[in-house]
Symmetry: C2
Subunit: 119 residues, 2 copies
């Protein structure tokens, strides 16, 4: 067994937030999805994003507001949000104090094959 | 986009804990994994479990101690623990007050095909 966390991950600046891609973990290339930690600073938000991969974003710390078109969806710590293929989205951290940390898991739906750059 | 959480899920007693299998969510059968919420009451633990599926357990609330053979591994809120195929494990909630909530994601490794009952 092996423990991974955003706290100990190598993070880089991407999409206006800090991202820790799981490609940094040796031996995880057999997973049926790609994954990354996303850390959104207080009062900040991600750049608009849209990709063919389906995405499951698990809120592991703080709270998120997902925006897609005219729709917003609040997701507290512990909730997970499932985004469809090519669903445009922005994730807001509306706290002025607490960072938002998500584990984002994403994969190409079967009818789109197995290529693509991902989120 | 769609939000799911252990708070609003239908939970049943399994393995000595409360489990909310994602099969309750219509439209999630295209995911490349199965998933379930696991709620471990304060001071409690799961039954010993061992299954061919690889498992990724994300601690979304509380704190977990994973036990496998002679090894233990503490996982705080926000950490994820990856368990290998057929790795025997017990998950302890050592808090006397706070429940432990995990999102468990599991899948058969490619070399074992796509059948099996899962955790």
């Amino acid at each position: 067994m092996r423990r991974v966390s955003a706290d100990s991950a190598q993070l880089t600046d991407e999409h206006g937030i800090q991202v820790g891609r799981w490609s940094q973990y040796a031996g995880t290339d057999g997973l049926p999805f790609d994954a990354m930690w996303c850390v959104v600073p207080p009062g900040s938000r991600t750049d608009p994003d849209c990709h063919p991969e389906v995405e499951l974003a698990v809120v592991v710390d703080g709270a998120a507001t997902f925006e897609s078109g005219e729709t917003t969806l609040d997701a507290a710590q512990g909730a997970a949000v499932l985004l469809s293929s090519n669903e445009r989205h922005i994730v807001h951290n509306r706290s002025d104090a607490a960072p938002l940390v998500m584990l984002s898991i994403y994969w190409l739906p079967a009818d789109l094959g197995e290529s693509g750059d991902g989120p």
